[in-house]
Each structure stands twice: as C-alpha cells, then as structure tokens.
Symmetry: C2
Subunit: 218 residues, 2 copies
DNA sequence: CGGACGCTTGAGCACATTCAACAGACGTGG
DNA sequence: CCACGTCTGTTGAATGTGCTCAAGCGTCCG
C-alpha cells in the first residue's frame, strides 16, 4: 500500500490513521454498510466473506499484515460488498473516507497502489471463477489449499501447516461445495498420505501430490 | 473514465490516444501478453474472455462504448489476464503504458476513475462468484440474462431483445455450464412463454418471470 | 450444392448434494 | 470436577442435477 512513497509521506499517511483492535470472530465491517473507512491489517488476520440473499456464505479471501481491506472506500463503491471479521486477536489501521480523500490529493500514488492491489485481486478472483466454472470439486479444493499455503503456510516437521484455523466449512465456502464433501476429500487425502488433518487445521505433507490433483491429475 | 475531469483535461487525454478498428471476431489483446496498452471502446463491443490451461473458456463480461478494457495496464499487472475480441465491427481508443504514466501524473483523477471502474467490476464478479458457488444452473442463467438486458437490452415489440449475437455456448461460458443445458433451459422457458429464442439471440418476453427464476422461485 | 456452424433432444451415468445419524472435542457453568 | 450443550467433523445411503455421449436437424454462407 505504501510502495513508491518516500519515508516522509509514509509518516504522514500513518499519522492520519487510527488504530483498532478486534478479538477473534469480531466483525470489522459488514456487507451492505456504507463504505466510509479503509482498513489495513497490522496484526492478525481478516476473513473476507460474502453472504448471498439465499443465505449461503462464500469466503472471498484472507488478509494478513500489510494488506488493505475495504479498498472500495477509495474506489467509488458506496457500500461494502463483503463482511470482514477478525481471525484471532487482530489489530487494524483505519482511515475515514474524508481523511483518505485529503491524503490521496497530497499523495496520488496512493490511488495507484490501490489500483495495483485491486488489479491483482481481480486477476485472482477471475482465475477462481474460471476454476469454479470448469473444474471438479477435488481439483478446486487442491488449488485452494495450495493458495492457502502460499498465503499462510508455516513450515513444521513433516510438512507445511496452514496457520489459520480453518474448518471444513470454511474450505467448503471457498470452493463452492459442502463441508461433507470437503471432509470426505481430506480424509481420502490423508489415507493417501498427502495431508495431515486435525480439528480446524490442515498440514500438507506432499505438496507435489496436492499440486498434481490441482492440475487435473487424478 | 473521464468523469471529474474538466473539458480541457479531457481534450488532452483524448489527444494522447490512438484509434484502432477491429472487425467482428478480431482480437484486440490476448491473455498472457504483456499489458502495455489501455483501451476504451468507442463503437461496437468487446467480449472479455478467459481460457484456462485445461482449455475451457469463461466469458468475463461484454464492454460497450465508453467502457475501459485492460485497466490492468494502469494497475500493476504485467500481463493481460484475459482476451478481448470485437463483437461486430468496432473501434477502440488506445493509450500506451508510457503515455498513460504521463497522463496520470498530470491528471491523478484518472487513477481514481480507474479504481472506481475496477471496484465496480470486482463487486460484480464477487457476486457472480457467489452465484456460481451456491445457485443452480437455471438460476444462474436467469440472472445472467437479466444482467445482459441491462447491459445490452433493446426494446422491441413483444419484449426486450439482447442486442448482442449470443450463442448458447456464450451463455454457457458465462454461467459455467454446457451449451446443452443452456439449450434445454431456454427451450423450456420458451415453452413457458418467458422468452423468445432464435439463432444467437434471445428476447425476453416476461422479465418478471425470468427474475423470479433468478431469485430462486422455481 | 455441400459443408460448417449453431442448435435440439434423448439416454445413461457420475459426481456431488442431501438426508441422517453419530462421535469426539471444547467450553461453560453448576 | 463432572455434566451438559455446542460446535466440528465423519461416514453411510439415497437422490438428483447436470454432464457426457450420441445422433440428427435446420440455416447460413461460400
């Protein structure tokens, strides 16, 4: 978010922010509310999720330290398109839309950086959209797990652990399936020695094996 | 794209552009190529589509006059995430990445406008993603048709026609299904008096009926 | 006139959902 | 500390939506 700004500018931008804390599960902003604040994660994580009117949930992404949430406050959207809730004890920086307007005027670079962030996410979302449209469930789960180990992988003995409390339901909400199918799939993978699963956690033992499934190798 | 710019600025921005024509089906930019140009549709339409490595296609959206294509050239992406091809004889404005950099420096507002555009599309894509993840095929087709009549609806006797040559395959690529299912669905709708279908074209007779299906009323 | 293209329709099947029941882990409060 | 309720996860069986495979038809165009 701050890339391309000189130290002085960064100090100015930070000085204009406020800090908030959020406990595990606490909501930072809610889908449908007026989008009058931009956030940046300082500590912990945010889970960005979306609720359709029919009641089903989709998880759009997880955000870690340094990442922006509610970029739409800078773009033109008047309401948040999704809900952000804290995963574990977290801390975020906040800028009001007003403050933001002034900052962007002084440091136009901020707008460009947001643009870069959103472009990147847009590309990712398009890719996930295409996956969802054309690939089978097992493949999608594999790709999602791979993305998660990039985003939040943690080396442990015997593999790479996804350092987010991740329920079967969460994975289902990311891949557009049900927790049942996710459970079955992960169990099968464990039997095959690809992963090690536990309550709200997944450790990938054989990254190459999972990658193969993700690429269509059955 | 030009909103918030004064007349003089608009003249400057336009003066820096080049014009290209594209015949029906001709490709404007290709997925994976370096994204060194920003486009704006002047006449006709562009179809933005994406090809996965497994070979299946998804249609991301259609763009009409005044809309920007390849916004990523302004954001940070180095390669186009999708392919743009002309639908019918079309004309587009072009700005090179270099020119664009200079323009943005002089008129920072351009960056904000792009941000607004992408934010809007991001929101729409998120909504479609959620649809794809949670709704049945018929519902998704209904919603897609409704979106299309907003984007390219044309009042005709007996309904609203979608003024784009739209094959069953195209609709399938937008909804993540097969042309077979789309064909069956549209035929059923025609029997029910909801739409009037023809070769590469759809005319919605009963918008409310289609909307009901889109909202889950079976 | 012939071929390519877009579309329709039927039959069978497979993947994933739905329905259902249960098991274990965790947290809470008496 | 144990009893209880809640939350998360597992697994089986039945069901069904939508895909795949297959064949054929009409229309547009060279």
């Amino acid at each position: 978010m701050m890339s391309g700004l000189d130290d002085d500018a960064v100090r100015n931008v930070l000085a204009a922010s406020a800090v908030s804390s959020a406990n595990d599960g606490e909501v930072v902003f809610v889908q449908g509310e007026p989008s009058d604040t931009l956030f940046m994660v300082l500590e912990g994580r945010l889970k960005i999720s979306q609720l359709t009117d029919s009641g089903s949930q989709t998880v759009v992404r997880y955000l870690g330290p340094g990442e922006m949430a509610g970029c739409v406050a800078m773009g033109g959207l008047t309401h948040y398109p999704a809900t952000a809730s804290a995963v574990g004890a977290s801390r975020v920086l906040r800028w009001s839309r007003r403050t933001l307007g002034e900052l962007v005027e002084r440091f136009p670079r901020l707008a460009l950086n947001s643009l870069a962030t959103i472009s990147f996410r847009m590309e990712e979302l398009q890719a996930r959209f295409a996956e969802l449209a054309s690939e089978r469930v097992e493949q999608r789960i594999a790709r999602t797990v791979l993305r998660l180990i990039v985003q939040a992988g943690e080396r442990v003995e015997g593999g790479i652990r996804i350092a987010i409390p991740l329920s079967r339901q969460d994975l289902a909400d990311m891949t557009g399936t049900t927790l049942h199918t996710v459970s079955r799939t992960l169990s099968a993978w464990q039997d095959a020695g690809l992963v090690q699963i536990g309550r709200q956690q997944v450790t990938v033992v054989a990254v190459d094996g999972v990658a193969m499934i993700g690429n269509g190798g059955r």
